[in-house]
Every structure is written in structure tokens, then in C-alpha cells.
């Protein structure tokens, strides 16, 4: 294998255990790939080269003795939202300048205990608020995928001697890459770009309204948001505590299953961590889905949805049908209210969670004439526009006189959204198939989205329902659009039934194949 970064986690695992390669070699391969690519893609905000080399060396020592853990020697990227001891942890915000926690998040502790190697911290939307990775204090992440242009070329008749070819001329079409920079989606844009561009073997990510699944769909990678309570939230910077869940972004379904198995745990430090053993997700990959009941929700056919998305969805239905699944039409009547309810619940929780950034205990401090002035100046300088907007909305909907009209109403609607899913699952549906996003990746600095925050929010229209109901959801690449950009499908499962998601996603992957961007960086 000439380029070790091309190996999937499962392939690397076999070669590491078989002593064909070492953890040090694969780690060095990733560190030099990051070195070359990061100026163009901006996926990493901190590269922990020395730490990575030390961890790889320790992995090699264990591998030699045949003692390696489930992820022994596998180099991973970590979203900047995860607290990593002594290492840059700033949720890509200016307000957390210089913050290096004295603790390690439970999810990353689990990964290191299984032998994984940390390459560095990945770029993201500030405090995970965004759908394009453009709200990061560290600048936007660039999608490794570019649109391709179809050029018509008139070929002259050419003759080449010495065994060369003879071309008869005529008209030919040629594809070339468009230079326009695209966003990788968000908030886990750094994670998605790093996985897609071979800058880590897999990455951690988090999902509050679609932040794992939307960037996975935009980059041709696999991303799973597990059931609320499956991964511990301890040590992860909080955005909206009743919605936040950690999960992996990976190159294929099997790698996502391997990563989730290590990330998930039962954690006494998180009161919402659920007391259920973590199953071996990888074991279900390849199992037939014959007789499985797949629900197709009619409310996900939204106005203005591109035909390509509808066509992709139909392709997904056909693949699952061919594999022996039973397709049933279902209704989730409160779907359209999920996004507006989310934009009350999430900002309300965020305004409370982000109250701690006051210039006293960590991060940035801007001096003022008294303590209130110091708070106000610190927060004005430390938070970006989108974060301020959400804190303001949250503060407003929770303020005296408005709480019942907004927050209480939204929490009631949230119960109705959850009930829609419960009714469908009670009727015997095993899994729900939907598109992952309403479009393919869009351009950096898109003018429409910059002018209207609600336009940006609509990116999460298919993913946000899942967070509101606390369910597991996986995005799996299913094809390319006419411009050569990846599109994804989403599968939604019963609470704690991630196994059915992996099993079904593997069937889609088998039919659709996997997708890699053409390298330009």
C-alpha cells in the first residue's frame, strides 16, 4: 500500500494487527497529509503532532505484544467541541481563547482507552451553531468536493506515430473541476472534510439539529447521530443539552460502526447517559434486511426540493425493496413544525449554557468600568454574530411574559413530534428512509443564506426532527448529482436501535458504492 491514508479503519486494523504496518507509519502519513492539505482546506485548528507520535509509539509497543485495543494505532481527528486535556479546546470561539482543559471528555477517553491516536482538533461552526462551518472564529472549512463542469471540446483529427493513437476528430465532452469553493456543511464541517480528504481515518463529531448528518451528506461520508443518551455528554462543550449527541463521521458504514462502539458507554458522570450495554454494531453489517418494514414519510416531500433529491430517494427505496424490505407509506404529521420548535428550544438552552462565558473563569476577558461592563464587553467581543443571535432569541423566549407563548408551546409541539414517530414504530415500521439534506453542498459566502438566517436553518429540515425526538439517525452517501457532488440518504430508527441503522445503511452502501473527491488540494 503506497498511501496509508487511503486505508479504511477496518483495513488499517487488520494490517496493524498483522504487523504489516505500524501505528507510527500510518500516523506519520496522516501528519504529512495534514501538513500539505490544511492550508487549502482549513479542517484542523490545532495539530497535535508530538502527542500523536507519542500515542502511536505506545500503540506500537502494545501491538508488538499482541495487546492492542479495538482502535489500536488508528489516527483520529477530534472536533474542537470535545474537552481534551492540555490541548486546544475552544469550540472554535474567540471567547474561549487559550482554553486548555484539565480534564478529558468521556467520549475521547473511551477512544484513547481503545488505543486510538489523536491527530488534532477539528474546525467547526462556533459553539456548533451553523450549517456551513462559516461561523468558526478560525475561518470557513472548504469542502474537498468541487462541482464539475462539462465542457464540449471539438477534437481535431490527429495522427500520432510510433504505436500512438489515431483520433478521428469530432465533438467530445470533458469534465473539469469548477474552481468555486463549496462549504462542507456544519457544524461538524472540519470532521467531514478531514474524513473525506483523507486527513484522518475517522473523526468525532456532534449533532444538535443535523451537525453530523448534513456535513456527512455534503462530503460523501457516513455520519451517525446515536440515540440521545447513548454517548456521554460529559466534557463536551454544551450547546443545547436536551438535543446534543456525539457520534462519528467515517468513510464507510463499517468504520462508523467500529467508532461508535468505542465512543458509546454508560457514564455515571452524565445523568442522561443510559444504562444499556453497548452492542457490537459491526456484527450486523452484511445481515440481510429481508422482511424489514421501511417507512417512507410523505411529509418529507417538501416544496422546492430539487428533482435530483427525489430521484435519489426513489433509488434508495428501490435498493431496499430489491434487498427484500417491505416499503410502506407513512405519515409524520408534525414534521413541518420541528424546525420552528427547534429554533425556540435550542437557542433557549444555548442562552443558558453560554451564560458561563463571562470573562471570569476561562477564556477571553475585555476590561470594563465595572463588572457588568466587563461581562458585556467580553461577550460582545468573544461571540460571533450567529452565536449572539441565538443567545438573544433564547433570552427573549425565556424572558418574563414570553415563556409560555414560546418555550412551553415549543416543548408541547416537541412531544407531538415524538408521538408521530412512536405511532409509526408501534405500527411495525422498523426504520424510516428520507433524504439527508434538501440540496447538495452550496458555495462559500452564499449571498442568499447570508441575507436571511432562516434560509441557512432550512438545511436541517430533514435532520432536526430526529434530535427533537431523541432518535438515532444515520446519513449514508447514495450518489452524485449532475454536477458531480455527493448526496446522502438518511435512515431513522427506534430509540437505541442503531444496529438496524447500520444493517440497512450497509445495504444502501453496497448498492451505491463509496465516493471520493477528485484531489485538487
Amino acid at each position: 500500500m503506497s498511501d496509508l491514508t487511503q486505508l479504511t479503519i477496518s483495513q488499517a486494523r487488520t494490517k496493524l494487527r498483522g504487523k504489516e504496518i505500524t501505528a507510527t507509519e500510518i500516523t506519520e502519513a496522516y501528519l504529512s497529509a495534514i501538513d500539505r492539505a490544511n492550508p487549502a482546506l482549513n479542517a484542523y485548528v490545532a495539530v497535535t503532532g508530538d502527542k500523536a507520535r507519542d500515542m502511536a509509539k505506545a500503540s506500537d509497543a502494545r501491538l508488538v505484544k499482541g495487546e492492542g485495543g479495538a482502535l489500536e494505532g488508528i489516527p483520529l481527528g477530534i472536533k474542537d467541541l470535545f474537552g481534551t486535556e492540555g490541548v486546544h479546546t475552544q469550540a472554535c470561539s474567540h471567547v474561549l481563547d487559550g482554553f486548555k482543559p484539565r480534564y478529558e471528555s468521556t467520549v475521547t477517553s473511551n477512544l484513547w482507552a481503545d488505543g486510538a491516536v489523536m491527530l488534532g482538533k477539528l474546525n467547526m461552526d462556533e459553539f456548533a451553531m451553523g450549517s456551513s462551518n462559516e461561523t468558526s472564529y478560525y475561518g470557513p472549512v472548504i469542502n474537498p468536493w468541487r462541482r464539475s463542469r462539462v465542457d464540449t471540446v471539438v477534437m481535431p483529427t490527429t495522427h500520432q506515430g510510433d504505436g500512438g493513437f489515431v483520433s478521428s476528430g469530432g465533438i467530445r465532452t470533458a469534465r473539469s473541476l469548477d474552481n468555486a469553493q463549496l462549504v462542507p456543511g456544519g457544524s461538524s464541517g472540519g470532521s467531514a472534510t478531514a474524513v473525506s480528504a483523507f486527513l484522518c481515518a475517522g473523526a468525532t463529531a456532534t449533532d444538535t439539529g443535523g451537525s453530523i448528518r448534513q456535513p456527512a451528506a455534503f462530503t460523501g461520508t457516513v455520519g451517525i447521530k446515536p440515540t440521545y443518551g447513548r454517548c456521554s455528554r460529559w466534557g463536551i462543550v454544551a450547546f443545547a443539552s436536551s438535543l446534543d449527541q456525539a457520534g462519528p463521521i467515517a468513510r464507510d458504514v463499517r468504520d462508523a460502526a467500529i467508532l461508535l462502539k468505542s465512543m458509546a458507554s454508560v457514564d455515571p458522570k452524565d445523568t442522561t447517559s443510559v444504562d444499556r450495554p453497548v452492542p457490537d454494531y459491526e456484527a450486523v453489517i452484511g445481515k440481510p434486511i429481508k422482511g424489514m418494514k421501511v417507512g417512507i414519510p410523505r411529509e418529507y416531500r417538501v416544496d422546492g426540493m430539487p428533482e435530483e433529491i427525489e430521484a435519489l430517494w426513489q433509488k434508495g427505496i428501490a435498493w431496499l425493496k430489491d434487498a427484500g424490505a417491505e416499503i410502506v407509506d407513512i405519515s409524520l404529521p408534525h414534521t413541518k413544525y420541528a424546525l420552528p420548535a427547534y429554533y425556540i428550544v435550542a437557542p433557549a438552552e444555548a442562552s443558558s449554557n453560554l451564560a458561563r462565558y463571562d470573562g471570569v473563569r476561562y477564556g477571553l476577558r475585555v476590561p470594563g468600568k465595572d463588572i457588568v461592563d466587563m461581562y458585556e464587553k467580553t461577550r460582545a467581543a468573544g461571540f460571533g454574530r450567529e452565536v449572539k443571535r441565538r443567545i438573544m432569541i433564547g433570552t427573549y423566549v425565556l424572558s418574563a411574559g414570553y415563556y409560555d407563548a414560546y418555550y412551553l408551546q415549543a416543548q408541547k409541539v416537541r412531544n407531538l413530534i415524538k408521538r408521530d414517530f412512536e405511532t409509526v414504530f408501534a405500527s411495525g415500521v422498523d426504520v424510516i428512509l428520507t433524504p439527508a439534506t434538501p440540496s447538495a453542498a452550496f458555495g462559500v459566502a452564499d449571498e442568499d443564506m447570508a441575507a436571511d438566517p432562516v434560509k441557512m436553518y432550512l438545511n436541517d429540515i430533514f435532520t432536526v426532527t430526529v434530535n427533537m425526538a431523541g432518535l438515532p439517525g444515520i446519513a449514508v452517501p447514495a450518489g452524485l448529482d449532475a454536477k458531480g457532488l455527493p448526496l446522502g440518504l438518511q435512515l431513522i430508527g427506534r430509540p437505541f436501535d442503531e444496529e438496524t441503522l447500520f444493517q440497512t445503511a450497509a445495504v444502501i452502501e453496497q448498492a451505491a458504492g463509496t465516493f471520493q473527491p477528485e484531489k485538487w488540494w
Binding site: 480534564y103 455515571p268 408534525h334 413544525y337 466587563m374 460582545a380 432569541i393 430509540p495
Partner: protein, 95 residues
Amino acid sequence: MSVDLQTVKRVAHLARIAVSEEDAERMTGELNAILGFVEQLNEVDVSGVEPMTSVTPMEMKKRRDVVTEGGKAADIVANAPATEENFFLVPKVVE
């Protein structure tokens, strides 16, 4: 419902975020766009529906009320912008 400039300034102060006149004006438009979008929730019939308090039906975990860790004052103040002898330093709040 919509907000006016005065309300935006009041909310900004509640949220402890300093805003300039220009910021407040821009935010008024943005906040009204978002509030206009969430307005549609009012059309949902929620009679008899309880507000959600927990997304997964589970009992809150409890632990025994005992000291399990501590003695970490130096760790706790390690990231603070201003400290003295393991205390956080803030501008004077009592005359």
C-alpha cells in the same frame, strides 16, 4: 409577535452582550425574521399535551451525597484570565 429596537437593547442587556446602535438595528431585523418563522407553531393544537421534560423516558440518576473528588483548586483556576492564590479576580463589586 415582533420586537422593536428598545426590546432588542433590553434583551441584549439581559444577555450581557454590549450592542452598538448599529448592531441593535441589524439584530432587530434578524430577530424578527426568526420570530416570524417560529410564529407558525401557534397553529398547532396542543390542548391536553404536556410539555416535554425528557426526551428519553428515564429516571434521573442519583448518587450518594458524599464528597467524591476535590482538592483541585489549582486546576479550577488554571484557565482564568486573572487569579490570586486560587481565587478568581473580578472588578470590585462591593463599595
